[in-house]
Amino acid sequence: MAKEKIFCNLSISVQELDFDIQYEIDNIKRRKKNFGGLASFLGQVRDSAENDKTLLFLELEHYPDMTEKEITSICNDALGKWELHDIRVIHRVGKLIPGDNIVLVLATSSHREEAFKAVEFIMDFLKSRVPIWKKEHYENNSSWVKSKKSDEELLSRW
């Protein structure tokens, strides 16, 4: 199949505000009625079951001048690998409680496999290549979330 260069719409937000998936999809539809297939991932703040402590809230710190740049660079890598129509990434920062949305990645493509791969690729790199750090706050203490070796190892598959 000849790889035609497609204009891809890339939109990235790092924000404290919550988001609405249907609104984001409608935005994509408004620009391009026919996106074919849309793959997505939505990440939430989980209750940390560690030590039976109840997570009060999560605090997400980031490097403002760098965060969007890094996410853009990851998305551009994805565009070089797969035929995509749209990429939308929203990453929340600040204080979030269990059940809150943290991250949304949407990718559209005429080929569903490419949309899936792009979302997985972007999620993998968001986990360990974007300057964002999570701190868990409990009743009597708080601790920075440790990076997982498994997250780092996942990058080698791309």
Partner: protein
């Protein structure tokens, strides 16, 4: 030069950024220079396997990277986004 710290590095150093006249010309040179200044730096930088570095907002892998023309160096722990 502007030096930034994030997450537990920021907490250990006690500031989120500082302006410093430095002599070092590489990342590792800068770390060594800081460590001599105050114990808080030697505590923060005691295990470099937990230190990630951005030079002018670009992640670098090699601590020998030059910082001669750099305006902004950031130190932080492994990232935990997503």
């Amino acid at each position: 030069m502007k030096i930034l710290y994030f997450a537990w590095l920021r907490e250990k150093i006690g500031v989120s950024f500082e302006e410093k006249e430095i002599k070092a010309v590489t990342v590792i040179g800068l770390i060594e220079e800081l460590v001599l200044l105050d114990e808080k730096y030697s505590i923060a930088f005691s295990d470099l396997s937990f230190i990630r570095v951005a030079v002018d907002q670009k992640l670098i892998q090699d601590f020998k990277t030059s910082i001669k023309d750099a305006k902004e160096i950031a130190f932080f722990p492994p990232m935990t986004g997503g």
